[in-house]
Subunit: 266 residues, 2 copies
DNA sequence: TGTTGACTTTAACCTAACTGGAAAGTGTAT
DNA sequence: ATACACTTTCCAGTTAGGTTAAAGTCAACA
């Protein structure tokens, strides 16, 4: 039997953490004296070792508890580990992108170029957008669902034998930003007017183009808004984006070209 | 002037977050009506854009505040970004290691090998350790300081022209684990008995070897402790590690060889 | 002008995975 | 017997917000 201090020293887990794990029933000492002193069994070292391993793999304590409650379910464990493998791979990709961006900023700063000066290169134009007939789905969704709904639209196009007359778009109906559930309309311009299609009104628009990943679109929004206020216009309808790059051809996000339209009026 | 909803939509930051940033004075609306309604200026879009960028770079809100409070200090900004660059690189290295480990576990699990079965391959031996004369520094330190203190020891060796008689060691005097400040003694065996050296007592030890990164040492501790209890011994003195691999030759952590000794008695 | 519905406010509480500190009680070596 | 190292519980705090409720306000339409 090991006191909490001994158990802590051997397992490289602090006593604070061990008491917390006891509290949440992740690993309970095999014996508790009447005065509350905790005593662990050497066998429990294997358990705390597993906990530490899974924590390294970015498991939440809740997920670890699930694994510990099903000690012989190696299929469950394996599928959870594969999930984490995927998640960590995603994080690494993201960090790789961040390192690129950050490297550019460092070399700019060392040349005396201010970090936000890239905004000056975003051009805003006043355009007259033509009205379009679009096949669309409007739903509360997260950004991750765009692909799914886009797929549905293309299915409909195929089934109904519609004629595509432009690149995919999304229209933002929300009044504020919400990453989990935005009121978004995913659309493709088509020739035919059938069930599921509608007319997207044309008119005066503030217009900008982005070459780069979608995460940089907010800079274009900001520039458009700045321009709209400076020129004395007001936003007249939900803004929309037009995706000129087909994401199914595996172009890198750096090469994506996206148009942004803010319908406006005086 | 933009309402909080408009500002949120354009900047892709939720209204909740904006209110929180107001509360902590990270970015305050340029005007607040008597009824409490917040109104932002288009110019503030650049500020929130910068905040989002720095958040992507893993800045804490406190660090971002520091940057915003020194808007023209590009040197400060650049040095902070470089810090983050380093930190992110570290994280990626760590994730790379995790992906390797996790990949091994997946392929093991798919072959029906249990995730903790590697423990069975750790061998424990009973040895009689000889006593050693060591030059050492004992201090409360974190693992990150090991190199620093080791460097000091080597300086002393050089200055005093001592004769090294073994590979570096560390002795753990703490009664429990504490990552920030462990009562650790960093040591090198030397021939001469001078100021700063002492005798490390020999005697019966439970002994194990690890080939691999230091983070896996806990598995060896656990095995040793299990063996000690099973054989009816008790720990008699602080455990110590002997580093057979010279970390200054750039061996990969996978190749490190470390011995672990737990001095014991009946 | 009135009304409706969308927008905004504050306040209080919740999250994960702990950490820190205080005050009191306990174990063990001398 | 005493000292002191070890352990206990309890409470508050950390980051960066999210959730919910109840109340107040705005703007557009009739």
């Amino acid at each position: 039997m090991l006191s909490i201090g001994e158990f802590s020293k051997i397992s490289n887990v602090t006593t604070k953490t061990l008491r917390y794990y006891d509290e949440i029933s992740l690993i309970k000492p095999v014996h508790v004296k009447d005065n509350g002193y905790r005593y662990y069994d050497v066998e429990q070292l294997k358990v705390i070792l597993l906990i530490s391993k899974l924590k390294l793999y970015c498991f939440s304590l809740e997920e670890i508890a699930e694994v510990l409650n099903n000690p012989h379910d190696d299929v469950l464990l394996c599928s959870l580990i594969k999930q984490k493998q995927h998640a960590i791979q995603e994080k690494m990709n993201n960090y790789q992108y961040v390192l690129n961006q950050l490297g550019k900023d460092i070399s700019n700063l060392e040349r005396g170029i201010h970090i936000m000066s890239y905004l000056e290169n975003i051009e805003v134009k006043l355009v007259e957008a033509g009205s379009k007939n679009i096949l669309s789905i409007r739903e509360k969704m997260s950004v991750d669902d765009y692909g799914k709904y886009m797929g549905k639209l293309f299915e409909t196009v195929a089934k109904e034998k519609l004629t595509i007359s432009g690149t995919p778009m999304s229209i933002y109906h929300d009044k504020e930003f919400n990453p989990e559930s935005n009121d978004t309309e995913i659309a493709i311009p088509v020739k035919e007017a059938v069930k599921g299609t509608r007319e997207l009104a044309g008119g005066l628009c503030a217009f900008g183009v982005l070459k780069g990943p979608y995460s940089e679109l907010t800079s274009v929004y900001a520039k458009l808004e700045e321009w709209i206020e400076k020129e004395g216009y007001k936003i007249a309808a939900p803004p929309y984006e037009v995706y000129l790059t087909d994401p199914s051809t595996n172009t890198s996000p750096e090469e994506y070209v996206t148009e942004v339209y803010f319908p406006i009026k005086k």
